[in-house]
């Protein structure tokens, strides 16, 4: 009898915990875009991890392509350690960029090479400059993009491969506008950023649009959620501990209640 009431209680508890998730889920489907493709990622599931090689390839794409327009203001070069780069490599990457610093003792601003403690170099000085260089549309910061769009990396991948050469019949595009199956409203101001063979991979990975899109989405997921691996590993340990604890507690509680029932 105890078991039955407890099972009932569990069902109610689970339902109440999941109800909000179900309630808010349909609200996320953005209007006007196709549902993103359902991709398989190495970081899926409770034990999923990032693929270091894919992250490095994705960073290369960001650096060579995306970074021309998109900032990643929440990331520092020192964070690249998580991608498998060593300290020297990170210093060398940072050194490639020039930063304005100061004022020095004379009160002047001066230029210096980047340091691991610098944020990723932003392509524009400020939003106004970014807007004026891009037909008035500011290219959004990509640091949190994988969390800031419904569908996360699936959506990012879909968007990158979802360009159509021509708008469907009956739609006209202004100059600087492109048609994308997955964009809400289908019209996007970003030109198709990736094309086959555009970026050289040194590790023999196929240089296809799909592979590029997958790698850069992988990288953006890491950028948005750099502690995912630690989080999941901690979670497994914590939940196992709690399950054993709850088992002990249940046995103890049953022992105490034995004389009552």
């Amino acid at each position: 009898m105890i078991k039955r009431t407890f099972a009932k209680y569990l069902v109610v508890l689970a339902a109440l915990a999941l109800a909000p998730a179900m309630l808010s889920a349909p609200a996320r489907a953005a209007g006007g875009g196709e549902k993103p493709l359902d991709m398989t990622w190495t970081f899926d599931g409770p034990t999923g991890t990032y693929d270091r090689a894919a992250l490095q390839r994705g960073y290369k794409i960001y650096r060579e392509v995306c970074a021309a327009c998109h900032s990643m203001n929440l990331l520092y070069y020192r964070n690249l350690e998580a991608l498998g780069y060593n300290e020297e490599q990170i210093k060398n990457i940072a050194r490639e960029y020039t930063y304005m610093d100061g004022p020095n003792d004379e009160g002047d601003m001066f230029e210096r090479p980047g340091l691991p403690s610098d944020r990723f170099k932003s392509p524009f000085e400020n939003d106004k400059q970014a807007a004026s260089a891009n037909n008035g549309a500011v290219p959004p910061d990509l640091s949190l993009m994988a969390k800031a769009r419904a569908g996360g990396p699936d959506y990012l991948y879909s968007l990158l491969v979802g360009y159509e050469e021509h708008a469907p019949h009956g739609h006209t595009l202004l100059s600087g506008q492109y048609w994308n199956k997955y964009m809400a409203g289908h019209v996007i101001a970003m030109a198709p950023p990736l094309a086959e063979g555009q970026i050289a991979y040194e590790d023999g990975t196929p240089q296809t649009l799909e592979q590029y899109a997958k790698d850069v989405s992988h990288f953006m997921m890491w950028a948005a959620d750099p502690y995912m691996e630690e989080r999941k590993q901690t979670g497994i340990a914590v939940i196992l501990f709690l399950i054993v604890f709850a088992g002990v507690m249940y046995a103890y509680k049953k022992k105490i209640w034995k004389d009552v029932h």
Binding site: P20, A21, L23, L144
Partner: protein, 510 residues
């Protein structure tokens, strides 16, 4: 509290303190030997669980506040700094963020449990009111807290919610400006919201203290809804319920941890990972899930309440009081007079509602339905029919309906007049209540959808209106009616007997 007779303790340190300030005697009395009905089910865990969540929120909130910066230029980045650079910051933030949801889950179950088993009835009315006050304070705290990360939903949620105040006639605009410290949600708003978000949990803590105090005066209700008659009906709180609560709490924490570690953003909205931008409104503003049913009630009122509607509404309200709330009408002499008034009131309300709705009906549809066109024309020709002369605009109506739906909780003990507490012995009440829960969830779904959404051709706004109607009818009409006419099943003699009887039945089955 705690004075009078005192049993000495064996431990000399405990005894030394207790003889000067009998705190251990008090704790033992209130949490050790305190008699509690022996027949609680697991739904009685949720009071303790909610208390635990309050402590978790205060503890994690304190540490987050040490790293957070309440400034519109820095707030978003300071939260991301917590997520990325502060040691274990991501964990603390996810515990706090999901903790709000799980606090509400615990409290909703706690409230629904109280309603199902009639825990609000005499002598526990004050206990219930204090609980309702905690719920109200929690809603305020959660709203304030959601603004702090300064994402898009923070800004626009705050804009919409503080916009409620502009619905108040005459002083609304000024009141909103006062609340915001400006003319839009901006830096002064953020800093005061942070201060208040820090303060309110301690106010909640104080009200929880009063809530528990009141509980320990009246004693707990139980699934049978009958008072314990003697020691055979109760058990000491410790170890029986301390251990049962601990076990239930652990199961709850496990589910909570699944969210923290494996789906930390499932209950949030992706737009809140975009920094607030006063120039761009998100396509679809939704509050956090725990506000959705109330949000649906807010949006359900899309019509202006003009003089016709209000006059009809007032007549219907008088009838409700005279014929439903009172055993015998005082001011209305006969039933036939009542029926006549019902017809008049209903007609007036209908005229007012239809006349106002005509203004929003699609013109092409009206053209095709000549009958309606004529009716609308006639109705709109009446004086005081226009939206401008309506004393209660749709906006104010929505705000009143929403706050009213929470206010009803406070007066629930006087709306449900039935002497029997537990739904176990009130089959009709049971059905009506469970329907309320289902409708509350449906309202939540309606609240999550865009305002113009429809399912199978039915506009969700109408579903919301019907749900709102049931919500109000449940409290104002169904409960008083059931109080007068529902025949309860026979109650058991005592808790002890009921528990024993069940056990014997279970054993003979085996």
């Amino acid at each position: 509290m705690g004075s009078g007779h005192r049993e000495p303790f064996e431990n000399p340190v405990v005894e030394w303190i207790d003889s000067r300030m009998p705190i251990f005697t008090l704790l033992n009395k209130e949490y050790g030997v305190f008699p509690v009905p022996r027949n609680f089910n697991y739904f009685w865990n949720f009071g303790a669980i909610a208390g635990f969540m309050l402590v978790v929120m205060i503890a994690t909130g304190l540490f987050l506040a040490m790293h957070y910066t309440a400034d519109t230029d820095l707030a978003f980045d300071s939260v991301e700094r917590i997520m990325r650079d502060v040691n274990g910051g991501w964990l603390i933030r996810y515990i706090h963020m999901n903790g709000a949801s799980f606090f509400f889950i615990a409290v909703y179950i706690h409230i629904f449990r109280g309603m199902y088993y009639g825990s609000y009835k005499k002598p526990r009315e004050l206990l219930w009111i204090l609980g309702s006050l905690i719920f109200l304070l929690m809603m305020a705290t959660a709203f304030l807290g959601y603004v702090l990360p300064w994402g898009q939903m923070s800004l626009w949620g705050a804009t919409v919610i503080t916009g409620f105040f502009t619905a108040i006639p005459f002083v609304g605009e000024d009141l909103q400006t006062l609340l915001l410290g400006g003319f839009a949600v901006d830096n002064p708003t953020l800093t005061r919201f942070f201060a208040l978000h820090f303060l309110l949990p301690f106010v909640i803590f104080a009200v929880v203290f009063l809530h528990v105090w009141a509980l320990h005066v009246s004693g707990s209700n139980n699934p049978l809804g009958i008072e314990p008659k003697g020691p055979q009906d109760t058990l000491p709180f410790h170890p029986y319920y301390t251990m049962k609560d601990s076990f239930g709490l652990l199961v709850f924490i496990i589910i909570y941890c699944v969210f923290i570690f494996f789906m930390p953003d499932a209950l949030g909205h992706p737009d809140n990972y975009i920094k607030a931008d006063p120039l761009v409104t998100p396509a679809h503003i939704v509050p956090e899930w725990y506000f959705l049913p109330f949000y649906a009630i807010l949006r359900a009122i899309t019509f202006n309440m003009n003089l016709y509607f209000l006059a009809g509404f007032a007549i219907l309200a008088v009838l409700l009081v005279e014929f439903v709330w009172r055993k015998k009408p005082v001011y209305i002499p006969s039933a036939s007079a009542g029926i006549a008034l019902l017809a008049v009131g209903g007609l007036l309300a209908l005229i007012g509602f239809t006349g106002d709705s005509c203004a929003r009906i699609d013109a092409a549809w009206l053209e095709a339905n000549a009958g309606f066109k004529g009716l609308c024309g006639a109705l709109q020709g009446l004086p005081f029919m226009s939206a401008e002369t309506a004393p209660v605009s749709a906006k104010l109506g929505g705000v009143l309906a929403m706050f009213g739906s929470v206010a009803l909780l406070f007066v629930l003990p006087w709306l449900d007049t039935h002497p029997v507490r537990s739904a176990r012995y009130r089959p009709l009440y049971r059905v009506c209540f469970l329907l309320l829960v289902v409708i509350f969830l449906i309202l939540g779904y309606v609240g999550s959808q865009p305002a113009d959404a429809a399912i199978a051709g039915i506009p969700l706004i109408l579903v919301g209106l019907a749900g709102t109607g049931y919500y109000y009818a449940y409290f104002l009409l169904i409960l008083p009616l059931l109080g007068r006419f529902e025949k309860a099943k026979p109650l058991p003699e005592s808790i002890h007997e009921a528990v024993l009887g069940k056990q014997i039945k279970a054993e003979t089955k085996i």
